[in-house]
Symmetry: C2
Subunit: 480 residues, 2 copies
């Protein structure tokens, strides 16, 4: 067995990378030697030496998983990458291409002729081709589509026709279907003759003559039943199925809720058109997580790292404008107290501290709220208890750290009243920030919005203005 | 087939909830009526009516998935929840308990006798019991463990003995093992007699007499092979296996890398001890994502929403202290320019704008860097190109929005030189923030740290101080 040991594995990959590089440079040396010879001897030497090294390299590569070959290709210089790529067979190239990082894939596709790409695509299945299509130059993509047989072509086209984020766009086509009037024996005979059985054969789908889905049949039940048992009696007619236009987000939560590993996908006429598997769901969830992270700071999900500067700059304007507006409002709060600042200019230096610590505390409460809502730990019944606790924490930490800052401020400015202002305003700021940190996500959730996306921005906008107001207000009351 | 239609499904659940509530309140009315009767007639009526309603309720519940019954239980008042819980059978209760939100589960466990819980646990398998154990009061957990047969007991204990975040803690025990000297026919016969075949039977594991793992056998290959074929020749001896002490994070990335659905887990002696399945990996990834979110704002992953206030307050001190330190440093930068502020007090009102917009822009670049590193879109070769682009965006947006703010400032203060300060400092601030946003995650990544966790804090600390310095510095140069 091949043990996936966590450190050894990374070391394995690095070692393989080194081995490949050594083999590649040996081949370069050989080519160099050969160049200097001439005539028939040159051909002979070239053939002998190069064949030997290529064979050694190919043996090394054959032992690797396509994902690992992709790792090697990503981590070697472009010229060596081309040498290695030339040694791979078409079926290997196809799977590796799908595993590669975008930049490297582009680079390799660019170096291949149209014919090479058509050859390579002929070894991929429909859903793999659908995955590759958007990454090819348009004319090449059309050539690839044109070269497929009609059945594959229509599958690829239907996969491409579903909008991103729908179940249809995630489904695959490698599934096995049986009829409900078959017996267990019929099914086993049918499967034995089936040419392209998928590697994960834990269930098959039961359809009628019109292609309408009637149930899911577990292989477990096929194996442990009498040969004469009717499939109709054995199948699960209640299994969860999805429609092509269901949202993938909903499907992902159904997979989690019902612990599904795969589920059939039907069209509007209840005809079986594909299957959705958990590995696709997992990829989709990763994508959504990445997207949420970008949206949180106001970037579009399809922000291209190397798009033209001007386009990217413009894409960020809405967010910049929003942020400038809230910052401007906070600045107007400060302007209210210009009189106080003119008299005690130190206030200007201290005010950012109070605003910053408020934002920090509020964001901690926001994070707990978001997790609590997601895991259903926070309910209508216990929300009050949660808010009370967070406000308690705000009070304690406001008092503790307010005292600390009061002492620090005293040692800088030797002004007891300024220390007092610092302490009181930190107390009030942490207290209100904790309250806001609980109420803002709760309000967004009640309004049916995703609290992950808006909470932090709203909170920081509020805590900035409030922090300035509390600090400068307290100062004006106490100092003047 | 049961279609999981995204809106209909939610509606289904709400409808079921309503139906259950109606049935429950009818039962309450019946109980009320019955209370007022007396003697033998009372028992008769009670029996008749209550049985009828209970049967109707139970029929409704039987059609639901345990996860959906959990949903209903979570969303009805505590007294009705008890009534419903009483109608469920022990095997049902066990699975539902694992699906429930923490607070509701605690509530139900608290209302059950020790004997009830023992009964319920007897219907769970070892990995489910291991999952339930930490949620039971300690003495009850020991009782449950004591009541298991020796085989189950040792499995539960071994599952509990692995540290969180290891493969051992995630593995399950419901797997089928065969010997390598069996034939295909032997395997099929063996499986037919196997009592507890797992529902997902896509592969079985091949071990020797000593329990040592030799390979993985796909059911697909069993089905399409001749009865006499030796398992030794059919199994995959190169399949990826994990050790109990491998890190679950590494396992999760291996599952993604090699598109695994399940993998065998072995101990130090290469003996097969369990199996790790993709649904557990998915749950684990969700947990990690939640944990990262909390860590990002300086909370511990096991932060309990309802822990004592004082403990929670103290848990947040390190982070608060760190934040106060950086805020204090930023405040010292402002203090450097107190002379300028004393002369033009407006500077105090405008300075937070520049710091805030710098933080915002920098965090956008950080988010792109983190995604780029995770998806391997950013490499050593193209990092320069990425930084150049982000700095370009910083320059363009600094110029555009600097002009906007210059105009706004002019209409408030009618001071051309102040507008000039605003424009120049926004330009410089956005430019440097973009640069920092690229370099900070890159540096953390090169140092082997996770850029997700530290980048934002470091960035905001830097952009605050830099923002104040740039704005007040420019003002001092231009205005005086």
């Amino acid at each position: 067995m091949r043990l996936h040991d966590n450190i050894a594995h990374q070391r394995d990959l690095e070692a393989t990378l080194q081995a490949v590089l050594v083999l590649l440079s040996r081949q370069e040396v050989v080519s160099g030697l050969v160049e200097r010879e001439a005539g028939p001897r040159r051909d002979l030497v070239q053939n002998l030496l190069q064949r030997q090294h290529s064979a050694e390299l190919q043996r090394t590569l054959h032992r690797l998983h396509p994902a690992d070959i992709a790792f090697v290709l990503e981590n070697i210089p472009p010229d060596k990458r081309q040498m290695l790529w030339a040694l791979l067979s078409d079926p290997e190239r196809g799977t590796i291409l799908l595993e590669l990082a975008d930049a490297v894939r582009e680079n390799l596709i660019g170096s291949m002729s149209g014919k090479d790409i058509l050859n390579l695509a002929s070894h991929l299945d429909s859903s793999q081709i659908a995955e590759l299509m958007p990454k090819l130059p348009e004319d090449l993509a059309l050539d690839v589509l044109g070269a497929l047989d009609r059945n594959k072509q229509s599958k690829v086209q239907s996969a491409l026709s579903f909008p991103r984020g729908s179940v249809g766009a995630l489904m695959e086509f490698n599934m096995v279907t049986v009829r409900e009037d078959m017996s267990v024996d019929d099914v086993l005979n049918y499967l034995r003759k089936y040419e392209m059985l998928p590697a994960t054969l834990d269930r098959v789908f039961v359809i009628d003559q019109g292609g309408i889905l009637h149930g899911v049949l577990l292989m477990r039940d096929v194996i442990r039943s009498q040969p004469a048992t009717a499939i109709r009696d054995l199948m699960d007619a209640e299994a969860v199925a999805f429609r092509t236009d269901d949202s993938a987000r909903e499907a992902a939560s159904a997979f989690e809720r019902y612990d599904l590993l795969s589920a059939p996908v039907v069209n509007l006429h209840n005809q079986l058109v594909g299957v959705i598997n958990i590995d696709r769901i997992m990829d989709f969830k990763d994508e959504v997580a990445q997207k949420d992270m970008l949206n949180q700071v106001g970037l579009r999900e399809d922000e291209d790292l190397f798009a033209p500067v001007w386009n990217s700059a413009r894409d960020r304007w809405i967010w910049l404008g929003l942020n400038l507006t809230t910052a401007f409002l906070a600045s107007r709060v400060v302007a209210l107290f210009e009189g106080s600042i003119a008299q005690v200019v130190t206030l200007a230096a201290l005010m950012p501290i109070v605003a910053s610590i408020g934002g920090n505390t509020g964001n901690q409460t926001v994070a707990l709220m978001i997790r609590g809502i997601a895991l259903r730990q926070i309910t209508r019944q216990n929300f009050k208890r949660f808010v009370a606790k967070e406000m308690g924490i705000g009070l304690i930490n406001g008092a503790v750290w307010g005292c600390v800052m009061a002492v620090v401020v005293f040692f800088i400015y030797f002004e007891g009243s300024l220390s007092m202002v610092m302490m009181l305003s930190m107390l009030a700021s942490l207290f209100t920030a904790a309250m806001m940190g609980a109420f803002i996500p709760a309000a967004l959730h009640l309004l049916g919005r995703d609290p992950v996306l808006g909470s932090s921005v709203l909170l920081t906008a509020v805590t900035d203005s409030l922090g300035f107001f509390i600090f400068l207000g307290t100062a004006t009351l106490i100092l003047f």
